[in-house]
Symmetry: C2
Subunit: 150 residues, 2 copies
């Protein structure tokens, strides 16, 4: 009996520490991480338009958009709480079963967007376009493994 | 005829400069600004739980959440493009017809969240709670005037 109680407490501590510090729901966590990626998308689209020549290339605006994503590059992870492969999500269950591999993709993205923010501040259009491509590849690498195609 | 062409060009320039630098749609702009506020909400909820004692007070986590919002405190504005009081939105048309008053609310929010990020770094729970309240008030002041109640 005592052991069962200890096991329950240990399980509870694990749940609390694996998730976030407050009592959030999987639904709220899903909404949150989708929102983070939506904000990324807006800024990526703005940079893509410039990189493709659909909008005038403006190094200052490029740096602004890169800087915005860079400032929130770690934010989505908190939304991947346990049991939140739910509802209208494209998250594959492998995110949780292969967490280390998922985090490797995340870390690669963080590095590439960090480099883009630096490169954009430099103002060299050719270098910026190349590094923007590298960010896109880091997004795609994770989507290929961990996102359901629709 | 010449005057009509000039008027058209002037109109086009106005549209391009009032909105964003790339060809975005009002629908995308709406999605974007809602996403920004959704990210705010996640971080505000986490701080609220600590401020209310529903979660253990953790100054470091509080500073993390305040810092995240502070880093993106200016981001929503770009989503308020012309003609985007559309679809499933709580944005009142007064946002556009009283733009300066709207931006005053925005600037007040930016100041208060900036102060919260500073205060949170200090670690004084009482001061943090007070400043968190000030941020909430700055949100509410804007909602009262410019958001449709549901």
């Amino acid at each position: 009996m005592k052991n069962a109680v200890y096991a329950m407490i240990a399980g509870l501590v694990l749940v609390l520490s694996a998730g976030s510090a407050w009592a959030t729901s999987p639904e709220d966590a899903l909404k949150y991480r989708k929102a983070v990626y939506q904000v990324y998308k807006w800024n990526m689209d703005a940079m893509a338009a410039m990189a493709r020549g659909e909008a005038p290339f403006d190094a200052e605006r490029f740096a602004l958009h890169a800087g915005r994503i860079n400032a929130m590059r770690e934010d989505a992870i908190e939304g991947y709480v346990e049991n939140s492969a739910i509802g209208d999500t494209t998250s594959k269950p492998e995110i949780w079963s292969q967490w280390d591999a998922f985090m490797q993709r995340q870390n690669a993205f963080e590095q590439e967007i960090g480099k883009l923010a630096e490169t954009a501040a430099g103002g060299d259009a050719r270098a910026i376009r190349a590094q923007f491509g590298a960010v896109g590849q880091s997004c795609k690498a994770c989507h290929d493994d961990f996102r359901v195609s629709r």
